[in-house]
Amino acid sequence: MKLSFNDPRFRSLVYQAAAIVSALAFGAYLVSNTLANLEERRIASGFAFLAREAGFAIGETTLIAYSAADSYLRALTVGLANTLRVSLIGIFAATVLGTLIGLARLSHNWLLARLAAAYVEFIRNVPLLVQLFLWYVLITENLPGSRGALEPLPGWYLSNRGIHFPVPEPHPAYAWMLGAFVAGTVAAIGCAWCGRRRQARTGRRPPVLEIALACVLVPPALAYFAGGAPTALSVPQLTGFNFTGGMTLTPEFAALGAGLVIYTAAFIAEIVRAGVLAIPYGQFEAAFALGLRRPLAMRLVVLPQALRVIVPPLTNQYLNLTKNSSLAVAIGYPDIVSIANTAMNQTGQSIEGIAIIMAVYLTISLSISAFMNWYNARIALRGG
C-alpha cells in the first residue's frame, strides 16, 4: 500500500480514520458542552443521588421490601422489578392468546374465523394508551369500593381496589416443595430426553408423559406432607379502609396487563397466521395422507415448521410489549419509567435519570432478543 492518495486502500483508511475522529470529537464536544452548561446553571450532576433517601412511597413492590426511608437506588430496583413482572407475565400470556387467535382465524369454522378477524382488526387499530385508559376506567368505575366488595368465593374479594385472595401462610414446607418441584422438573426433562433416545434406538417409546408427570407432581406432594402439611391461610380481611392479609392484584396491574396482552396478542395472531400460511399446503396434504386429522396435523407437522417464520417477528413483539409497559405511568402502575421520572423531578437530574431508563430497557431488550436468537438458531434448518 503506497502512502499516496492515488492508492484506493490508503484513501479509504484515511476517510475512515477521519470519520471516526470527527465522530469522537463531536461526541466529546456534546458531553463537554452539556457538563459546562449544567455547571453554569448550577444543576447537580453525577450519580451520587442514588444513595440519598428517596422520601416517597411506592404502591406496588414486587417481592422487594421498600419504605420511604430507603434509597433512590432501591426505589429504582422496585420499579425495575415491577417492569419485569408485567413484561414477563405479559409476554407469556400474549403468546398463548395470540397463538390461539391466530389459529382461530385459520379455522374452517366460519364464526370462529370471523370473530378472530374482528378482534385483530379492532384491537390493532386502536392506540394502546386509549385501551389502557379504557381498561382502567372499566375496572375502577364498575367494581364497588372496598366497603361493599363482592365475594364470589369464600375469602376472595373483588373491589375497585383490586382482587384480594387468600394465600398460604409462609412455612418452611413451601421452600421444600419448591425445591422438590424444581428437581422434579429437571428429572422430567431428563426423562423426556432419555425417552427420545430410546425411541431413536429401538423404535419403542417408553411412557414418557406418565413418568414426567409423576416426577413433577409426586416430590412436592411428599415434601408437603413431610414438612407437616401446613394448612394455615392468610385470608384478606376488611380492616378500616382496605383489605389486609392475603394477596392483592391491583387494578393498575390488571389494567396494564390486560391492555398489553390483548393489544400484543392481536399482532402475534397475525404473525402466527402468516407463519402457518407460509408453509406450503403440501405439508397438510401429506399429513392428511398419513391419516392425521387437522388439529394434529397443525400441531405435529405444520406449526414446528412455521416456527422458523414466526420467531423473528415474535421477538419484535416481545420487545414492543416490554417497551410499551412504560405507558404504566399514565394509569398509576409504578414501573421503572414512572419511578425514574419521580426521581428526576425530586433531584433535578434529568440526564442521569434518562440514562438509567435507557440502560434498563436496553438490557432487558437485548436479553430477550439474545434468548430468542438462541431459540431461533436451535430450530433453524441445518445444512442446505
Binding site: 477521519a18 470527527s22 470529537a25 463531536f26 464536544y29 458542552n33 452548561n37 449544567l38 453554569e40 446553571r41 448550577r42 444543576i43 447537580a44 422520601g55 416517597f56 412511597a57 411506592i58 404502591g59 419504605s67 420511604a68 426511608a69 385508559f133 376506567v137 375502577t140 368505575e141 369500593g145 375497585n160 381496589r161 380492616t239 378500616g240 379502609f241 382496605n242 389486609t244 387494578p251 393498575e252 405511568v329 399514565a330 394509569i331 398509576g332 409504578p334 414512572s338 421520572n341 419521580t342 428526576m344 423531578n345 425530586q346 433531584t347 433535578g348 437530574q349 434529568s350
Partner: protein
Amino acid sequence: MKQSLILASIFAAAMAAVSQWAGAQSTFDAVRAKGYVQCGVNTGLAGFSQPDSKGVWRGIDVDVCRAVAAAVFGDPGKVRYTPLTSQQRFTALQSGEVDVLSRNTTWTITRDTSLGLNFIGVNYYDGQGFIVPRKLGVKSAKQLNGATVCVQPGTTTELNLADYFRANKMTFKPVVIEKLEEVLNAYFARRCDVYTTDVSGLVAIRASRAPNPAEHVILPEVISKEPLGPVVRHGDDRWFDVVKWSLYAMIEAEEQGLTSRNIDEHLRSSNPAIQRFVGAIGDVGKALGLDNRWAYNIVKQVGNYGESFDRNLTPLGFDRGINKLWTQGGLMYAPPIR
C-alpha cells in the same frame, strides 16, 4: 475531497460558535427579541391557571405572567402559555422551553439549589391537606391508617405525605398518577379513599370538579408549609429582577391603595411614594431595563394583588387567610419600590 474536508471543518466550527453565542444570550434579551413571554402553567387548576370556556387562560399564576408581559411590553396579551404536568415542569424550565414557570410550585431548598432554579417570591402561602368523602366518617388525618391515597408524582406532596405517615406511625397505600384529570377521576371513582395536595388545590377541585361538592370534606390538618411562587432559571439575574419586581409591584399597589380603576387619578398624585410607583419621578424602570411606566402598566392592565385574588380565587370560596397584606395581619409584604 480536500474541499469537502475544509467545508466540514468550517461548518463544525460555525456550529460550535453559534451554540456558544446562543447559550450566552440572557432570557431578558431573548424575550424582548421574540416579543412575548413563554409562560409555563398548570394543565388546569381552577383559580391558579386554567383556560375558561372560551380558551382564555385565567388565574393568579396567569396574572403574574400577564404582569411580566405588561411590564416588559406594555401589553399583558403578549404571553404564550405552555400547560405542564408536575413531572414536566422543571425540565421545561431548565431546558429553556419556557421563560418563567408560574405553576403553583412550592419553594424548597432542593429546588432552589440542585435543580438550578431561582424562586422569585411567593404569590400564595399554602399548606398541604387531605380531602375525603364525607361517607367515610373520618374527622381527622390521624384516623387514616391503612388508607389508599391518590397523589401526583414528582411533587413535594408525595414526600410530605410519606413523612407525615411515617412520623405518626401509620401506613398507607399510594396510587400515583401523573395527569391531574386522571388522578381526580380515580379519587371520584373511589379507587382511593383520600386525595392530597395543597389546600388551595383541594378547595379549587371541590368547587370546580366534584360531581357533588357537599359530599367531600377537607380535613382540618395542614401538614406542611407550601409557599407557592413563580420560578426562573439560575444565572439570569436581569430576568430574575424583572419577574420578581412585577410580582412585588402588584402587592405594593394593593398596599398603596392603587387599583386598575383608580390609578389614572393617582397619576397626578402629590404623594412621592405613588409618584415613584407610577414613574412620574425617579428612574426605577430604567434600572430594571424597562419603561418607567412599568408598574403603572401592570396595575392598569392586570390589577393589583387583591384584585387578582378577588377575580380568580374568591368566587371559588377561598378567603385571604394568611395571604392578606402584612398591614392586615397576613404575610404579603413587598419591599419598597424606590
